[in-house]
């Protein structure tokens, strides 16, 4: 586990760029998620105080969106599509293969904090089904072989 990030200083820097209107909530949370890799409780508390919202309001908004996480995530986020088009074209096999290679299930993070595995209900590139993403990069027409290759290439690059 990495050390708890020093949220005080880094969050101050983020907050300094906002006026404190309640519509700033999501942009702030996005920046914090980007910076810390997840939203520690302390961050949500400080954001709530900054925007004069209650803790439960901030928690409600952040848990509504799949883009925020509440436990530390790995350096690479792998998102495998479980949408209809991808399912029909073998998405489940891709997921199985990645689960097997990384030894984790969706929602989990590898022990070395390298990968977090997630599923989505459609990446929005059905023509390329089955699809997956690593970070912001999308991979289409996946096969179990290709999945293994992509992971292997990542491993070497890092």
């Amino acid at each position: 586990m990495p050390a708890e990030p020093d949220v005080t200083r880094e969050l101050k820097e983020i907050l300094s760029r906002y006026s404190g209107a309640s519509s700033d909530l999501i942009p702030i949370l996005q920046e914090a998620q980007e910076k810390f890799g997840y939203l520690p409780e302390e961050v949500m508390q400080r954001v709530a105080r900054f925007l004069r919202l209650t803790d439960n309001m901030v928690y409600g908004v952040s848990t509504f969106y799949a883009q925020f996480s509440f436990t530390p995530t790995g350096r690479n986020k792998i998102t495998v599509c479980r949408g209809t088009a991808c399912h029909v074209r073998g998405g489940a096999r891709i997921l199985k293969e990645i689960e097997r290679r990384l030894g984790i299930k969706p929602g989990e993070t590898t022990e070395d904090m390298e990968y977090t595995l997630e599923t989505v209900a459609c990446i929005g590139a059905c023509a390329l089904a089955p699809t997956m993403k690593i970070g912001n990069e999308t991979y289409g027409q996946m096969t179990t072989m290709k999945a293994a290759e992509v992971l292997g290439a990542k491993e070497k690059a890092s």
Binding site: M44, T54, N56, G60, T63
Partner: protein, 225 residues
């Protein structure tokens, strides 16, 4: 305020502009069931049990939050409306724990009462139940979210009536849940014993800790037919 005339169940009724269909119906002695709505709260139209048919409208409309308009022709108990209400109750009960027999609020539970009124028995659907741990560490309040129907009356009453903000709504879809702070069990630090939310909860999800030997509240609901 201007007066308007509309037709409810074939009868001409007078209402004031700005009234909801529900208010106008109640005023002319027509009962429409409600679950998420209370007159003290701002309507949010969450549960849909109060739907009515308005001629010319593509869909059924929620009467608790739809303003009545002059010339509207409304049916509050048509077959379509009743079938829809039954379906809603069936779906609510399908994910409900179904432990009325053991429930402290069984005699005053609005969900159970409406189910009885609409003659909904065993739901046809088998659904995953949302079981949550019982929250009974506060001396003032017991929360059993397994029985929660997400009407949000507690959260709104806390905010709109009691002037606090103890509850929030978190997660989404089937996982949606009324939470305290960052989803902590409710304790006496966050909530004093004003008890407002308890009286607003239509089900057994919120209650006062029951003293030993204390009777259940309300009269037993005896269903005869």
């Amino acid at each position: 305020m201007a007066e308007i005339t509309a037709t409810i169940n074939g009868r001409q009724v007078k209402a004031k502009e700005g009234m909801t269909i529900l208010e106008a119906a109640l005023e002319s002695g027509i009962d429409i069931p409600t679950l998420c709505h209370r007159p003290e709260l701002v309507p949010i139209g969450a549960c849909r049990i109060c739907v009515v048919e308005v001629e010319g409208s593509r869909t059924l409309v929620g009467s608790c939050h739809t303003p009545i308009a002059g010339g509207m022709v409304i049916h509050t108990h048509s077959d379509k409306v009743l079938a829809t209400r039954r379906m809603i109750i069936e779906l609510l009960l399908a994910s409900h724990c179904g432990s009325c027999y053991m429930c402290d609020k069984a005699n005053i539970c609005e969900l159970r009462k409406i189910a009885a009124d609409l003659e909904v028995g065993l739901p046809r659907f088998q659904m995953r139940k949302n079981y949550y741990a019982l929250e009974d560490i506060s001396p003032y309040i017991v929360r059993d979210l397994t029985k929660c129907i997400m009407c949000r009356r507690c959260a709104r009453a806390c905010r709109e009536v009691a002037g606090h903000n103890v509850f929030g709504i978190a997660y989404r879809g089937f996982d949606t849940k009324v939470v305290v702070d960052f989803d902590q069990p409710i304790d006496k630090e966050v909530c004093r014993d004003c008890g407002v939310c308890i009286s607003f909860c239509p089900t057994g999800a919120l209650g006062k800790p029951r003293e030993a030997k204390e009777e259940k509240r309300g009269k037993p609901l005896i269903i005869t037919s």
